[in-house]
Amino acid sequence: MKKLTRRRVLTGAATMLAAPAIAAGKYSPGASDTEIKIGQTMPYSGNASAYGQNGRAHAAYFKMINETGGINGRKINLISLDDGYSPPKTVELARQLVERDQVLFLYAPLGTQCNTAIQKYMNQKKVPQLFVSTGASKWGDPAHFPWTMGWQPDYRTEGEIYAKHIKQTIKNPKIAILRQNDDMGNDYVSGFRELISSFKDTIGADAIVADATYEVTDPTVDSQILQLKNSGANVFYNVTTPKFAAQAIKKSAEIGWKPVQYIVNVSASIGAAIKPGGFENAQGIITAQYIKDITDPSWATSPDFMEWKAWMEKYNSSANPMESANATGYASAFTVTQVLRQCGDDLTRENVMRQAANLHDLEVPMLLPGIRLNTSPTDFYPIKSVRLSHLEGEHWKLFGDLISRDAA
């Protein structure tokens, strides 16, 4: 053994001080001492281009992170590509990102079909497909897809929460459903339907009296609303995207149909759905929330909202401040930076997944107070809780306790 001299100790200490940036790093492709390269696919063009705001918010968040020193001294380099919401294009771009650009992982690619198209590939390649931007219930399946993880509360659970609330609060529910004919619509309705039919002893065997669909390419849903009204329903489960949600709210008020209305979280945007549908028509509508309503002045004094506001002004000023995607994207990007912080200097793909499945009571800015993220190697559903709220005046008013997936 070598003798321990003062000089040796000093050099050793100096090396250790300098270490975080130089040595000790364990890296998969895409990570280095100075950079963490991550990839993403987003619909910046095409039918779903409105969702592209998520990607812009992510980029703006990482810009802030990079300007304030990065993560453990490393800058985040997000390569966000336009797939036009077309699955084959997503496959091509995912391969480009993984094989040519050599990213560490894919972060929050958007769209259920687009993510389905690459799920197998990502898992074969063992590259994380982290915090996908879709609420389908299939993303939390670590037994079969250990490299894929969701983020937001899944649609199925949300639907089940509405079903329970209907059972608890409405005596003789006659339910009419309006849904978009795609996987989002199916996911929202299938869990809801199953639960409603399991309640047949308390609310009757055929509580669902009407179930109408529309296509995302349809101009209006007026005829569907007439059909639902004629079914004599007193509960309206509104499974739509914002444009159609607004139409449904407006039309049902116009024809004097006043059911108890549940609107899915996807359309719970004040700016995109409620305001165009008319506040006077939307009073009392119920929804489940996990993100703070950014138009609600009562949050204005909460510290995370103030930070978010400052970020919006400095880094994301070209965005529409009413759009809730700015808050969702911010919270999601916060989560992924937390995972990267937890990774420390072990920036391997295995460790990214390990840390993503190792979140404990993480509080995320812009999520509702009380919501904490928890994951484990067998639990790939980061956000599991929502709170019900109803529209009062021009804002959502929360009521009741947090409802969690496990409890639902």
Partner: protein
């Protein structure tokens, strides 16, 4: 627009060289260290698939003069035929290709009959509805058990036979290349013969063609059928290489990109189809790269929309080469070969 090559006796040396070059490309994989080689092979597959689809469309628009905006529907039909046979029938991937071709041929034939009554813009509109309706039809509940509804169908990528020593992507590239070669050769022969002359005569002057005894209805519907069948094979190949089919993959946008590939490559030109296929894949990607590059280099505050760049590229190309890249090349060649004569004058 008369196709000189169609009068040649056989396949030209240039064509042979081009195909041989394409066939040698995957072999680079054995000497390169580039980790993204398989990705380039995948892009090659996409280009060949688009080239086949453009070939189908070219036969219809370029050679027969019938306009179609609905070829994404035949592409989808081919893709779903393969997906369903592989998924539910347990068929091997190669056996589904001819079935996809036949199904799409029959569908094209069926659509070709009503199309007889429609000319020009009206036909474009009628086929347009086909493209619009297809994604919605694929989501239809009654057949969702087969098509997977909105969720689509996931497939297994075929493994290459072990004796080949190829990677999956190299192998699939050869599969696409083989199909492309066979189809190009078939179309080449079709156009060279009596039927080809009839098909083109209908385009050039329908009434004159009819006076000469050409059965317009038969040739038009059969051309529509063959065109749809070829595009269907492209769709089937795309299902195999992407290993996933979903309704949102087959929107009107796809039909438009075939059309763009056709016009850019060169209407009524067979080499143009290959160029068009490559263009569809390359230029959409490079538009995005140019946009990123501009943002980075000029430190722009806002994104430069990639599709605007795509539009500018397309406009510039149409202005410089109004008869497509293949047409432009032919013009340059003509200028080159007559150079001596001009100098002598």
């Amino acid at each position: 627009m008369t196709a000189n090559w169609a009068n040649k006796r056989g396949v030209g040396a240039g064509a042979l060289l081009a195909w041989a070059g394409l066939a040698l490309l995957p072999l680079i994989g054995f000497i390169t260290e580039n980790t993204s080689f398989d990705y380039y092979m995948y892009m090659g597959q996409s280009m060949l698939i688009y080239a086949i689809a453009v070939l189908g469309l070219n036969l219809l628009i370029g050679f027969n003069g019938q306009i179609s905006l609905g070829h994404s529907a035949f592409f989808a039909l081919g893709a779903y035929t393969t997906a369903i046979l592989m998924n539910f029938g347990g068929w091997p991937y190669w056996a589904t290709l001819p079935v996809a071709a036949v199904v799409c041929f029959l569908a094209g034939l069926a659509f070709g009959f009503p199309a007889l009554k429609l000319e020009g813009h009206y036909l474009a509109l009628a086929t347009f509805t086909l493209a619009i309706a297809m994604p919605q039809l694929l989501k239809y509940k009654a057949i969702a058990g087969w098509t997977g509804g909105v969720g689509g169908v996931l497939l297994d990528k075929p493994d290459p036979p072990e004796w080949t020593g190829l990677s999956a992507d190299q192998f699939l590239y050869y599969l696409c290349l083989f199909c492309a070669m066979v189809l190009f050769w078939l179309v080449f022969n079709l156009l060279r013969g009596r039927s080809g002359r009839a098909i083109m005569a209908i385009r050039d002057h329908t009434m004159a063609a009819s006076t000469m005894g050409i059965d317009i209805a038969r040739y038009k519907t059969v051309a529509f059928g063959i065109s749809a069948g070829i595009t269907g094979i492209a769709g089937a190949l795309s299902a195999i290489t992407v290993a996933y089919v979903a309704p949102d993959s087959f929107t009107l946008q796809l039909s438009i990109s075939f059309l763009v590939g056709l016009v850019v490559g060169g209407i009524a030109s067979l080499p143009g189809c290959l160029i068009g296929g490559a263009f569809i894949v390359l230029v959409q990607n490079s538009a995005q790269s140019i946009s990123d590059w501009m943002k980075g280099t000029f430190a722009l505050r806002y994104d430069v929309p990639a599709w605007a760049i795509y539009g500018v590229l397309l406009l510039a190309l149409m202005y410089v080469l109004p008869d497509g890249i293949a047409g432009g090349c032919a013009r340059i060649r003509a200028w080159w070969t007559t150079r001596g004569r001009r100098e002598a004058q």
